[in-house]
């Protein structure tokens, strides 16, 4: 049996729409200090470090240059992934299982408020030869995908809008959330179309923040100061990046990532999982991702579930109790790690007013946003995996 791996410490900077008094380095330093204290370790005990970041989002080329000092990893193994934070957790697990490291730190942050023209920047993510010259906003890809999704599943745009209301409401009990504003069906559906059929209110807004996660092997985890959150499974996958050849309306990347995470965890169906933190960059994505995770026998049930309240905090399968990206804000590559933070707090019983009565196994899922088809899944449990 493979060695068990757990999260033994987390450090978080609360999400904020803008952080004029912080540099990204100061945010990382703060989150790192909190994480190391939470894990009860000193920075010099850490073997390896991973930062998830993209050059263009940072405004600096070769961004890994600026990662070591504030994390305390000068002259240590450190590398970046241009991926979501959940890929970083999978990376840490693989380093530990391969015997390369015993304690690995994963960091991701967002200084999205520094990006003056985010949509213009996003244009540069389109294929420069075949797609970019068409001159459309990449958000239109999400709108087209939502069209295909509602058409194929029978889920209505109003049901998608319900996701916004639920997640914003959840965020009101989360002190880490940046956008815990009240919303109702009218306010969402009366907001202007950003790109038909997507309403402006159905887009998660960018936020600044940082998360540092300490991942450790079994021996270290069993001596940890706080109750470890065991990593039961990880998975990551891409669908086709080329827009002409991807499967519209369907989150294939999430399905593949979940498949591998479930297999590692020895979990047969999504019903064995107590609560979900999934990507909701656009409201419909939450439903699409839950379907990809295999939570429903028929896709249309996802629409019924949001309407009936089954995914509310007091529902049968709570989804995005943290408030998700719609309620908390969308922190670039740190998105997945904020999902991890909620999982860890819930598993430890430290989620305050949001605490779920049943929280033994939770799933975090992330997506890298338009125009990508890149996603990752991490399953955490309060108990070590079954042999």
């Amino acid at each position: 049996m493979s060695e068990q791996v757990a999260i033994i410490g987390i450090g978080v900077v609360p999400l904020q729409p803008t952080t004029p008094r912080y540099s990204f380095k100061e945010m990382v330093f703060e989150a790192a200090q909190k994480a190391y204290a939470d894990a009860g370790i000193s920075f010099d005990e850490i073997d390896s470090f991973v930062t998830c970041a993209e050059d263009f989002n940072e405004g600096i080329s070769i961004f890994d240059e600026y990662t070591p000092d504030q994390l305390g990893c000068r002259q240590k193994p450190m590398h970046t992934l241009t991926q979501d934070g959940l890929h970083g957790i999978a990376d840490a697990l693989m380093q530990i299982r391969a015997g390369v490291a015993e304690i690995v730190v994963v960091e991701a942050h967002s200084k999205a408020s520094n990006i003056l023209t985010p949509d213009w920047l996003l244009d540069y993510a389109l294929d420069p030869i075949y797609t970019r010259p068409l001159g459309f906003t990449p958000h239109a890809l999400a709108a087209m995908d939502m069209q295909a999704f509602t058409h194929q599943t029978g889920i209505t745009p109003s049901q998608c809008a319900e996701v916004v209301i639920k997640n914003r409401l959840n965020a009101r009990d989360n002190p880490l959330a940046a956008y815990a504003v009240e919303s109702n069906r009218t306010s969402v559906e009366a907001s202007p179309y950003f790109s038909f059929p997507l309403h402006e209110e159905e887009l998660a807004r960018a936020a600044d923040g940082c998360v540092v996660v300490v991942v450790a092997n079994e021996t270290t985890a069993s001596k940890a100061a706080k109750r470890p959150a065991w990593i039961l499974g990880t998975g990551f996958a891409n669908d086709s990046p080329t827009i002409e050849s991807r499967r519209w309306g369907h989150a294939e990347y999430a399905r593949l990532a979940a498949q591998s995470a479930f297999r590692q965890a020895g979990i047969k169906t999504a019903h064995e999982i107590d609560f979900f933190e999934v990507d909701d960059t656009y409201a419909y994505k939450e439903l699409q991702h839950l379907i990809a995770l295999g939570l429903y026998a028929e896709p249309i049930e996802a629409g019924r579930a949001i309407e009936s309240g089954a995914t509310r905090r007091d529902g049968r399968t709570p989804v995005n109790v943290s408030g998700g990206a719609l309620g908390m804000g969308l922190p670039l590559e740190a998105h997945g790690l904020y999902r991890i933070v909620e999982l860890v707090l819930q598993l430890r019983g430290q989620a305050g007013e949001r605490q779920l009565s049943r929280a033994k196994i939770g799933v975090a899922q992330s997506w890298r946003g338009v125009p990508t088809t890149s996603g990752a899944v991490v399953i955490l449990g309060a108990e070590p995996p079954r042999g």
Binding site: M1, S2, E3, E54, D55, F56, G59, I60, S61, I62, F63, D64, E65, Y66, T67, P68, D69, C73, R74, Q75, K76, P77, M78, H79, T80, L81, T82, Q83, D91, L93, M94, Q95, I96, R97, A98, G99, V100, L121, D123, Y124, A125, D127, P128, I129, T234, F236, A237, N238, D239, S240, P241, S245, L256, A257, S260, Q264, R368, P371, T373, S374
Partner: protein, 391 residues
């Protein structure tokens, strides 16, 4: 659980060139396809794909990994991009190593691609954006300046002459004459190198690697698969990487401590105690002529400040005691950043399999080290490979 043994079972690359007609995706595809063909595996037998590519600013594509994914074969399967600046090409092998050694995956395709020519008028401009935006960028530094600083410090500390440095360019460009993928191979003399224009004193034009387009790839596999599909697997014996502080101005540039840390991490894993005796072939990173010497010292293959003397004595020639950069390196083959590091891994693979054609070294090299370097004179990445299966 004991970690699994991992071997390289295939390698391939495109020609390195000044300006490729192929799109970045096509370059990646050519290299990936060549590596797969060499490994005799099909894409569907590959469990995960690892991409290494350096700044997005060259290709001019945001989230470049996502764009390149299908070119690398990374769709419908686990795919990620690792990134440590110029050190990426060798680091990507370490990334793929632990992905397979962990038991999560059995096979991995590792692709490194760079298309620098998209950056107009010259990719050097993109390098301005690697500096600290507050304290350094306003000075409008460029790479040639900071490496001229480092070269000067290296020469000054150990009393090294410019002629000794120029020999590296002569050797590597000559070695590249036999590399079919080479961009800048040449038969030169030390005088030719020193007669080329000074870019930033003391760096002459012929001591600098070119900007290039190209891609290189390998296939790695866990022992069970490697044994089944390959009769000559080349084992990954050790990996190491180390990143120094971003405050490069506070560092003594005479010696790369971070390379030493990375090297010992890899040597320890490989069970190498005396690198100078146990390493048969070295492919250190040579984007500038002095860097090869600097890195050989960091790699513990020469005492501090003495690499130039060993070079002059012929130790690092093809027929010397320790052949260094038999591929022709970045100076001779070319420098499509991440792909250049991967080209060095390919060279070790071919040399140890006896498949290096006209470049084949005499004797039978059994263990080699490849190293890459990058960022603000800051990161060292090291891979030790050999014909002998690790313990």
């Amino acid at each position: 659980m004991a970690k699994r043994r991992v071997a390289v079972i295939g390698a391939g690359m495109t020609r390195f060139m000044h300006r490729a007609l192929e799109t970045p995706k096509e370059l990646a595809w050519h290299a990936a396809h060549a590596a797969l063909t060499s490994s005799q595996l099909k894409l569907k037998q590959i469990d995960c794909v690892v991409l290494g590519t350096a700044p997005d600013a060259f290709d001019g594509v945001h989230m470049k990994s996502e764009y390149l994914a299908d070119g690398c074969g990374g769709w419908g399967k686990p795919f990620l991009r690792c990134y440590v600046g110029g050190g990426t090409g060798v680091y990507a092998v370490a990334q793929a190593y632990f992905q397979v050694a962990s038991g999560i995956f059995d096979t991995a395709l590792v692709v490194c691609e760079e298309k620098m020519s998209s950056c107009q008028p010259h990719p050097q401009a993109a390098f301005l954006t690697i500096f600290d935006p507050i304290t350094e960028q306003p000075l409008k530094p460029n790479l040639l300046w900071i490496f001229a600083l480092e070269q000067t410090r290296y020469m000054e500390t150990y009393g090294i002459t410019i002629e000794e440095i120029a020999r590296v360019a002569v050797k590597n460009k000559r070695n590249a004459l036999n590399h079919p993928a080479a961009q800048l191979s040449a038969e030169l003399t030390v005088e030719d190198v020193l007669a080329s224009e000074i870019m930033a004193w003391p760096v002459h034009r012929l001591m600098v690697s070119p900007t290039s387009d190209g891609a290189a790839a390998i296939v790695i596999a866990a022992e069970e698969v490697a044994r089944r599909v390959s009769d000559k697997p080349i084992w990954i014996q050790g990996i190491g990487w180390s990143l120094d502080s971003a405050y490069w101005t506070n560092r003594d540039l005479a010696y790369p401590e971070y390379v030493e840390k990375a090297a010992w991490m890899a040597y320890q894993m490989a069970g190498v105690k005396e690198p100078r005796k146990e390493i048969h072939i070295a492919e250190p990173y040579d984007p500038f002529a002095y860097k090869e010497l600097h890195h050989l010292e960091g790699l513990q293959l020469a005492p501090k400040g003495e690499a130039p003397r060993l070079l002059a004595d012929g130790v690092f020639e093809r027929d010397g005691d320790l052949p260094v950069t038999p591929s022709g390196g970045l100076l001779g083959v070319g420098n499509p950043i991440a792909a250049a590091g991967m080209m060095k891994i390919c060279e070790l693979f071919w040399q140890m399999r006896g498949e290096a054609g006209k470049r084949q070294l005499p004797g039978k090299p059994e263990r080699g080290v490849a190293q890459a370097w990058g960022d603000l004179m800051q990161v060292g990445t090291v891979v030790v490979m050999g014909t002998e299966k690790p313990d």
